[in-house]
């Protein structure tokens, strides 16, 4: 069967939606390769089809058997993003996988929110350690009337506020940041492993 312009538009539309979906969680080169392979599949099926009863019906049958583009993209997500995150435990694949689940499931969204708090806290501690040597008089433990009320960078210091803490807070902040980061990353990895098991069961 040779496609008319309408048929070509339908195929291109399918591939466009697939590409857009894949781009949300896969690197560009992987997306291009995946879309090229799916297009090859469609072209092969189209070439073998006799076009009965008409082009539209024949093409819809081919695309139905292939599956909706979002479902195909979801299968790529399940096979790639989560596997990579669980297997490597690296930060970027984990964030990418959690981000994708956050967009597709309600549980994923709230889990991602919790993990975001964990990662943000750890980065805050790292920032604290980096900023201390640059702004020694503005970074530290904030005391009001002799009571500690906060930790961080203050520009400028509020009246009546006393800032304490020497350079010793740098290793403490690094230790806390690293501890929270590792704990959050492990939690995220365990969550993704659980999700993957659940998907398979």
């Amino acid at each position: 069967m040779k496609l008319t312009d309408v048929g070509e538009s339908r195929v291109n539309g399918y591939l466009f939606v697939l590409e857009r979906s894949l781009k949300t969680f896969l690197p560009g080169d992987v997306v291009r390769d995946a879309v090229r392979e799916i297009e090859s599949h469609v072209r092969e099926r189209v070439a073998a089809a006799d076009g009965a009863p008409n082009e539209r019906a024949a093409l819809e049958k081919i695309l139905d058997e292939l599956g909706p583009p979002l479902r195909v993209a979801q299968a790529y997500s399940a096979e790639r993003t989560i596997d990579e995150a669980v297997a490597t435990g690296r930060f970027v694949p984990i964030v990418r996988a959690v981000g994708h689940l956050a967009q597709t499931t309600m549980v994923g969204f709230f889990t991602a929110l919790g993990l975001l708090v964990g990662y943000a806290t750890s980065f805050a501690f790292f920032a604290f350690a980096v900023l201390k040597p640059i702004f020694p008089d503005n970074v530290g433990i904030q005391y009001v009337h002799g009571f500690p009320v906060g930790l961080g960078a203050h520009f400028p210091l509020s009246p009546g506020t006393d800032l304490r803490g020497g350079y010793w807070i740098i290793p403490v902040a690094l230790f806390c940041g690293l501890g929270i980061f590792i704990a959050t990353n492990r939690g995220a990895r365990k969550y993704l492993a659980w999700w993957r098991e659940r998907r398979l069961s």
């Binding site: 090229r36 392979e37 090859s40 072209r43 599956g67 299968a75 096979e79």
Partner: protein
């Protein structure tokens, strides 16, 4: 657990083995793998979901892939079994036969009463 859920688990659990067996006889491209699976099994429910599995098996080093142009009006991505894939397939076949044999024995024992 509903029967269809159990069947789905069984299907997913055996797809890797089925794909490796399909490629074991020689290089095949995606659609040819799907057509072979469709001819012998009912493991393929949605054709598009086979490609991510092929991608994973390639990343795991069990399959190697290569684009071939000029053979058809459109390029085809061929998959072949790697040495690691051959070894894995051999192990999987042993495991599968042992497993099936045990289940068969259980079924026979249950039917004997």
């Amino acid at each position: 657990m509903p029967l269809d859920t159990w069947q789905e688990q069984l299907r997913r659990g055996s797809l890797d083995l089925a794909i490796l067996l399909t490629v074991a006889s020689g290089p095949r491209y995606g659609l040819a793998i799907i057509q072979h699976l469709e001819a012998f099994t009912d493991l393929v429910v949605t054709e598009g979901t086979i490609y991510p599995i092929l991608g994973r098996l390639t990343r795991e080093g069990l399959l190697a892939s290569q684009w071939v142009e000029g053979e058809a009006p459109h390029p085809r991505k061929y998959y072949t079994l790697t040495r690691a894939g051959t070894k894995r397939l051999s192990d999987m076949k042993v495991q599968w036969r042992a497993f099936a044999e045990k289940i068969d024995r259980l079924i026979a024992a249950a039917e004997r009463g």
